[in-house]
Structure formats: C-alpha cells, structure tokens
C-alpha cells in the first residue's frame, strides 16, 4: 500500500522532474514546506476508513440496483456504482488537525504550522499517526489520506488500455503507455475548500459564509445527505416491511423509493449515471461494463481514431472497426422501438428543463422519414 501510494505521486511528475527532485538531496528534504513534501512523497499513512459502513453500503447498492437494475444486461450492481459512491464520500481526509470538530483545508495548515511540537493533550489533532509528535510524517499522512480512497481528479494522460499510434507510418504500434489514471492529481487550496463543502457542507468552511450556493446547490453536503437518506430508507423499510431495505423484494424497494425524499432519489440517480459511465479508476464502471452497456468507446488515447494521413488519396487513415468519418461498420440504422418513439414524440419536442413547458409551433415537429 505504502509503496503504491508513493508511486502515485511520483508518476504525476515528469521523469525529468523526478530525477531532479532526487538530485536536490537531503537539503531540500529538511525544508519545512508542505508543498515540497506533497510533491516528493514520504512516509505512508495507514488505510483510511471508508465513509459508509458496510450496512449503509448495502443499502446504497440495493437502491442504485433499482435505479439501474440488472436484467438480461448488467446494471448498477455489476458496474460497482455503490463503490463509486463510497469512493466519492471517502475522498477527503478524516483528520481534524486543529481540533475544531471540522475537517477542512485548514487542517493541513494546522499540521504544517505545528511541526516539531508535541501533540496536544486531549486532542490527537495534528498528530495524525498518534506517536506523540507532530512532524512531516503526519503531514504526509494527511495528504495521503486525502487521496487514499478514490481520486477527486484522476491522473493522466493515459489509462494504459490503448497503444500508441504512429502517425507518420499510419499504423497502430504495440507500445502501451504506463497507466496513470490512478495517480490522483493534488487539489490546490481553493479546490480543497470547495470539495470540503461538497462533502461536509458549508458550515465547516467559514470562507464560503457569504456564498448562498455553498448551501443551496444539490452537490454540496453530500455526506449528510447520504447519512440522512440512507436512514430514511431504512426507517421506511422497517416501518413498511419490517426488514432491512437490502432484504425486501425488488418491487417493495421500488415502493420505498417513491416514498422517501425525492431529492435523495435524484442524487442517487445522478450518482448512478456517474458511477456507471465514469472511468474505472473512480470505482464504478467496473470492467467497463457501463461503457459496453451504452455503446460508448471510452478513453481512446494515445491511439485515438485517426492513425495517419494517406497523401496519394488525400484521406485520413481511420480504424476499420471504429471509423471517425463514416458510420459504424455494424450499424443497422434501426429506428427506435415504438415505446421510445412515443416518448420522444412528446419529450423531444418539449422543453426538458421546464416541466410542462412546450415549444410553440412550428418548433414541435417530427421529421418525415
């Protein structure tokens, strides 16, 4: 684990930078700057506790499995949507370094400022690893904890699933890049504050006190919304069916989802779409099940879709299986089914962002075919 995390950080730098950092030597190591430490890597933290308990995770898995169910095709369960949500909710550090009962970016500063001091009585605080002293190891532990679960921003440039192309030769090569999507990109100070608000709410970040959006947006205070939403689901399930949600029949689960706070169902729906279609580095879309389900190619770099340019014909050289400028070779150009047609006839001529609003004629139309 420790080794892997160190590698994560180093890979986000160029080879040259890594070499240079090595050459700076011990003098730079002694510099008490947390930024250098953040780039360099250092002592490892222990595993970070995930946010949702196993029981809560089971409830989430059961709920998203009703939103995108498994039938003849895989659904949210197989795609690992619950793991995606767990990764999101666990993504910030469980470190209250300044003992203010909040976990914010200020905690990183607190550790940096208190290096070299002893841990305070009654509050482990900045002494993240509990060895009685606040030092660079604690800072590093907090930094690592920040990214340990799943990345907020996954690394780049390449997943390692696609090979390099050779544009001059117009060919695919058999050289694959080193995977880097797992190398979480460190957040800057302002991004940390924003993500603290997203996960723990505006109350934990005084800097957003005069920003109404920090409390109004659907995407903030996610941990509380999940704790409350899961609790409501379980309470309702016990009241109606005397069993945990994960153990009742699918149609009963559907009933429960119509009874609880609709905002939470919308949140679960949005996160289900994210967990189904995100890169697997974020925990969802396991084995790229989601992309296969919807027929999306997913990441294509560094190969891409044009392999080169053929001067004699003045045409780009494309991949036969996935052409850039032509229809898919297997495309049957079928129309939609009658149910989808009925739906689109109404919805596709509707203003989808405004319930009940319709476009005035002549903008509602079905193109004659």
């Amino acid at each position: 684990m420790a080794r892997e995390l160190n590698v994560r950080f180093d890979l986000s730098l160029t080879r040259r930078q890594v070499l240079r950092l090595g050459a700076i030597g011990t003098a730079a190591l002694a510099l008490p700057t947390r930024r250098l430490l953040a780039q360099r890597g250092g002592a490892a933290a222990g595993p970070v506790a995930p946010f949702l308990t196993a029981v809560e995770l089971a409830t989430v898995d059961a709920a998203v499995s009703r939103i995108i169910p498994t039938d003849t095709l895989p659904g949210a369960h197989e795609a690992g949507v619950a793991d995606y949500i767990q990764g999101l909710l666990s993504a910030l550090p469980f470190v209250d370094a300044n003992c203010d009962d909040r976990r914010t970016a200020a905690d990183f500063t607190a550790i940096a400022l208190r290096q070299g001091t002893n841990a305070e009585a009654g509050c482990r605080g900045a002494d993240v690893n509990g060895d009685g002293v606040v030092n660079a190891t604690d800072l590093r532990s907090a930094e690592v904890a920040f990214f340990a679960a799943r990345p907020i921003f996954g690394g780049g440039p390449f997943s390692g699933r696609q090979p390099f192309g050779d544009f001059a030769a117009g060919q695919v090569t058999d050289v694959f890049p080193t995977p880097s999507f797992d190398n979480a990109i460190p957040l800057n100070r302002v991004q940390r504050l924003a993500w603290t608000v997203r996960l723990d709410g505006a109350a934990s970040v005084p800097e957003v006190a005069d920003n109404p959006l920090a409390t109004a947006l659907d995407e903030v205070d996610l941990r509380r919304k999940y704790r409350d939403g899961i609790a409501e689901i379980e309470q309702m399930s016990h009241e109606q069916f005397s069993q945990p949600f994960a153990q009742i029949a699918p149609e009963d689960q559907d009933t429960i989802l119509t009874l609880i706070n609709p905002d939470f169902v919308t949140l679960l729906t949005n996160h289900s779409v994210e967990g189904l279609l995100c890169d697997p580095a974020y925990g969802g879309n396991r084995d790229r099940i989601g992309w296969q389900l919807v027929g999306f190619d997913g990441d294509s770099q560094p190969l891409g879709y044009t392999l080169g340019f053929d001067e004699p014909t003045q045409q780009y050289i494309e991949r036969a299986d996935r052409p850039n400028s032509k229809p898919n070779p297997s495309e049957d150009c079928h129309s939609f089914g009658s149910t989808m047609i009925a739906f689109l006839t109404v919805v596709a001529t509707n203003d989808l962002t405004k319930p009940n609003a319709r476009f005035p004629s002549p903008f509602c139309f079905e193109v004659s075919t």
Binding site: F296, Q301, N324
Partner: protein, 590 residues
C-alpha cells in the same frame, strides 16, 4: 537560470523577482500572447494565474511533457477540475437593474488553470469578417437602427489586424481551407493559406453538412487550432474525441499553454506564478504601482512592476478594476463605460435525434460548420439586406454521455418515461440523447447595450472574501429576431440530414446566456469619453495599464472570439515594445 522550475506553484525562471517590467494577470489566450511578445523582446515578465497547473514541465526546454489531462469525463465535465467552481467562486445574475441579482452556478464561468480557457476549448479559431470592424457605420448606412443599442465601429480595420491574424494563426497552428471545396465563402480575404490543412471530418459533421448542402448552404471545414499534422514540436491530433470541455492529453491542441506561454517561459524572461489570485491593483496618480494577490497558501502578497496587463477574461478584468477602487467608480472609469457593453454570443441550439448512432465521441468535437447565417455577403465585406445578422453555425454532437444524460434525463422527463413504460436503463442503453444526437449551434451576434454590464455584487462574496461579479444582461430584439428568423432553417437542415426528431434548447431570459464567449466591458476606442481603452488596449486613464482579453471588443461579431483576442493581444504587446512598429516587433518573434 535553470529550467524547468523546481519551485512549487512556479513555472519558468524562478530567479526573476520584483520589480518586473510587466505583470500579466491571466495565462489564457490574451495573457500568453502578450507574454510571448514581451518576454521575447527581453522584458522581465511575471504572469499571475488564479488556477492550478496541469502541465508539469511546461517550461522544460528539452521536450514538452504530456500534461495531466486524460479522456476522463468525470474530472472535467462533472467535477470541474479546470473550471471556476461556483461552490467557492459564485457569480450573480439579473436581467435588469430593477431586479436583485441572484447567485447562480453558471454565469458563463470559464477555465481556471494555466493556459486559461484555451485548455478546455475545442479551439475553433475563425477570423471576424472585414465588415465587423465597421459594423455600426454599415448598419447606419443601411438604415438599420436599433433602440437602446450602442453599436460602434472598432478603432482599427480588418486590414490593420490582418497581419496579426496571420501571426496568431501561425503561433497557434490553425487548420483550415482557404479556398476551393470546403472553404468558407463568407470568410474575408486572406493573404495566404492556413498554416495547416483541415482536420479529419467527423461522421456527424458530414451528415449535417450533407443536410446543409441539400438546402443550398455552404458547409466548410471549421478553422481550428488543432494540429492536423505535426506542428510546432507537437504531434498530430488523433481525434480522440475528448476535445470540447477537455484538456488535450497529447498537446495536439494548440492551447495558449503549449504555444505562446511555453515559448515565453523558454526565453528565461518569464515567470508564471499559479494558484495566485489577483485581488487589487494599487495606484499612484495615473500609474498602477503594484498588484496584490492571494498566493497558493492563502497569504496576501504584493508585486511591483512598470506595466500591468489585464487578461483575466472580460468579466474578471472589469471586476478587478472595480475591486481596486471600491470607494470610487472603479479604475479607468472616468468615462462611466467600465463594465458596460458586455457581450455574449446569443446561442441557438437545435438538436436532432437520428436513427443511427453518430459516434460523436470520435473526432475533434466540431470539424465542420457554416457561415451562411452570419448575414453577410461573400467575402464578409457587406451586409445582406434581406436577412438579419446571425452567426456561424457549429456542426456538433454529444461526446459526453454522463453530462448529456444528466442534462436531458431530469426528474420530470424520467417520470414521464416511467408513465409510458420506459426505464432509465433503456434510455441509457438506447441513447437517444447521447449516441443519436446531432447539434447545430449558432453563435449569433448580440447587440451591445450600455445596460448590459458587470458590477460588484453588494452581498455575495467569494472564497477570497471579495465581492463577486454581478452580471446584468438582457437580450435585445436585434438577436432575438435573428433567432426567430433562423430557427426554422436550422430545423430544415436537421431534417434534410435525416433527423427523426428535432427540438431547440430553450431560451430563458431569466437564465444567464449559455455562451462561453465573453466580450466587452473594457471597450476600446479613440475617444476617452466613450471608451475605456485606447486602440491598442491601453487604459485612457492610466499610462501603464492595459487590457489584452475579450474586454476590449466593441462588438461580438458572429464568430468564435479567441483568434481575435490573440491577434489584438499580439498587436498590443508589439506596440508596448515599440510604439507604431507592432507588426515588425511581433513578426520578429514568430
């Protein structure tokens, strides 16, 4: 000097320190173009960038490393890695001064990172038309007047800007076709071909081009700063598909970062401090003396320089002038024009749903388009008398399944789907709003109005403790009439291309405009009483303060603005180095 920099939050020559010859605020299209010229001419340049840097080793003289971008919809489209984040940096919006502005998560937010918005743009780089620079006169001559508007001629002509267009295209590596099949007949005369041939056409764009051709229009290869061949030490685009809204993983996109900013850094005369947010300009008489900024750790710093260039985007540059004089009218506002005549292209988006899958995730987002609805004659030298002024049309699609599905499958749509017996899963699998859509997007000119403006919000503050931009904006009938005129024609194109269903993204005047094309607010002109900046972007009220972003635009034209921002910024920087000899100065650094 040792490059690349080993200092956190710094790119370039770390030995440089205050006082600088020039401080540039913003590392996007305009800021980087000025840095390229000024650092190239030997001036000591500091660039402050509010956002993070995802180009480690951008200042490495030996090679340009791959950046941290990737084909990852979540971190770009959903989690806003490169965008201004409303959770910490909100803006407020209202239609008119009679209303109280409300905080809104997307008042035309742009990118916050080294390279600015050119990092996540898909780099559509057309020029403006010849007539755009004298549009007010042309409208007046044609007897077309519009109450409440503030059309004015630009203080320079297309011919004066043309050499800088050429140099901006060369620096950025613009692909396109100047004549023959696939050229834009409405583009104004060029002195030569594009530096690069056109990029590969996407299937969806070919489909829409067929429809347009059937209706008698002139689809063309969209000019773009995307490498259709290896160029500038960067590889050819392989059409990975993650272009609009994404940073480019292999640097084939000619963003400001990998073109002009990198060249500035490699001179050794330029330093970029990123994660550094400019808070206030300090003045003494008619000079700016220093800029205060919040650094990466949240501490407030100050740096002195001989000259200051605002390139933070039209809204943020105007805001900084207001933040720097909170007890007064704002810096540079003796004309009462500061923040006024704010411009956004008026986007009309027609969506077609096709029977076949259009695989919009392959290609450079928009490979083709047409200018027939701009409303000018061939060559862009005169107005057509029979049609309104609209804008260029982009032939687009959906390349982002997460965002498209979330945008279309809202609770009310899903509730209706359930009623007719359709599940969310069926909608995701069949993909009527993702794999099957083609989009026509018109970037229509909006009329300048003095009441459309940027001010400081009286109550809402950002994470830096500063009042946020308050945007007051209302569309004029000038552009609303154009929308009404061109909408049916857009549907006809979709139908001719084979769409089964079609609809428009709604226009809601209560919402901020959809456009990312932000211009005006620091209007340029020859008369200090009616403009903020002079014809070279220098503030009339100051001897050492300049604007080099879209703020100086007088009108919005009907074409994507970035190439024009770069051309004007190059010209402004050349003029700083040697007044009256801008063209010679810039040409010596191409």
């Amino acid at each position: 000097m040792s490059l690349p920099s080993a200092v956190p939050n710094v790119l370039g020559n770390t030995a440089l320190d205050a006082p600088f010859n020039v401080v540039i605020i913003g590392s996007g299209a305009g800021g980087s173009a000025t840095a390229h010229v000024l650092a190239g001419a030997g001036l000591k340049v500091l660039v402050l960038e509010a956002g993070n840097n995802y180009f480690p080793g951008l200042d490495d003289p030996d090679h340009l490393p791959f950046p941290l971008f990737s084909n990852d919809e979540l971190k770009f489209g959903v989690r806003r890695m490169v965008l201004q984040d409303p959770v910490v940096e909100p803006r407020t919006f209202r239609q008119s001064a009679a209303e109280t502005a409300r905080a809104h998560p997307d008042v035309n937010v742009l990118a916050r990172n080294v390279g600015g918005t050119t990092v996540h743009a898909d780099m559509k780089y057309p020029r403006f038309n010849e007539i755009d620079f004298r549009l007010a006169s042309a409208l007046r001559d044609a007897g077309r007047t519009f109450d409440g508007t503030s059309f004015a001629d630009w203080p320079l002509t297309y011919d004066e800007l043309q050499p800088f267009y050429v140099m901006a295209e060369d620096l950025s590596g613009v692909s396109g076709r100047a004549d023959g099949e696939g050229a834009d007949p409405f583009a104004s005369p060029r002195s030569g071909p594009y530096p690069l041939p056109p990029t590969a056409e996407m299937y969806v764009a070919r489909t829409l081009a067929d429809g347009a051709r059937k209706k008698g229009y002139h689809p063309m290869h969209y000019p773009g700063a995307v490498n259709s061949r290896p160029y500038g030490g960067r590889p050819a685009c392989n059409n990975c598909g993650f272009c609009s809204g994404f940073g480019c993983p292999n640097n084939s996109k000619g963003s400001a970062a990998v073109t002009t900013l990198r060249s500035a850094l490699l001179t050794g005369n330029c330093q970029v401090r990123f994660n550094c947010f400019a808070r206030r300009l300090a003045r003494s008489g008619s000079s700016i003396t220093a800029v205060e900024y919040t650094d990466a750790d949240g501490a407030v710093q100050s740096v002195a320089a001989d000259r200051f260039i605002l390139a933070a985007s039209a809204v943020e540059s105007a805001r900084l002038c207001l933040l720097s004089d909170r007890d007064g009218p704002g810096l540079g506002n003796s004309s009462d024009q500061l923040g006024r005549h704010l411009l956004y292209h008026f986007q009309t988006t027609a969506v077609g749903i096709f029977k076949q899958r259009l695989h919009g995730e392959r290609g450079n987002s928009v490979s083709n388009g047409m200018s027939d609805f701009r409303g000018v004659t061939e060559g862009g030298m005169a107005l057509r008398s029979d049609v309104p002024l609209g804008g260029i049309i982009e032939f687009g699609t959906s390349s982002e399944p997460m965002r498209s599905n979330k945008a279309f499958l809202r609770p009310d749509a899903l509730a209706f789907a359930r009623l007719v017996g359709l599940s969310l899963k069926q909608l995701l699998v069949e993909g009527p709003f993702t794999a099957h859509i083609a989009v026509l997007e018109m970037q229509a000119e909006d009329a300048p109005q003095p009441t459309n403006r940027v001010q400081l919000d009286p109550t809402v503050r950002d994470v830096y403790g500063l009042p946020v931009p308050m945007v007051t904006y209302q569309n004029h009938r000038f552009e609303r009439d154009a929308r009404t005129f061109y909408q049916p024609k857009m549907l006809q194109i979709l139908g001719a291309a084979g769409a089964q269903f079609g609809f428009f993204q709604p226009y809601d005047p209560n919402e901020p405009p959809d456009s990312r094309h932000v211009m005006g607010g620091l209007r340029m002109g020859s008369d200090p009483h009616t403009s903020v900046c002079d014809p070279f972007g220098k503030f009339h009220d100051f001897d050492n303060l300049y604007n080099a972003d879209g703020g100086v635009f007088v009108t919005s034209s009907g074409y994507n603005p970035t190439l024009t921002i770069i051309a004007l910024a190059l010209r402004a920087a050349g003029h700083i180095v040697a007044p009256g000899q801008a063209e010679r100065v810039v040409a010596s650094h191409i």
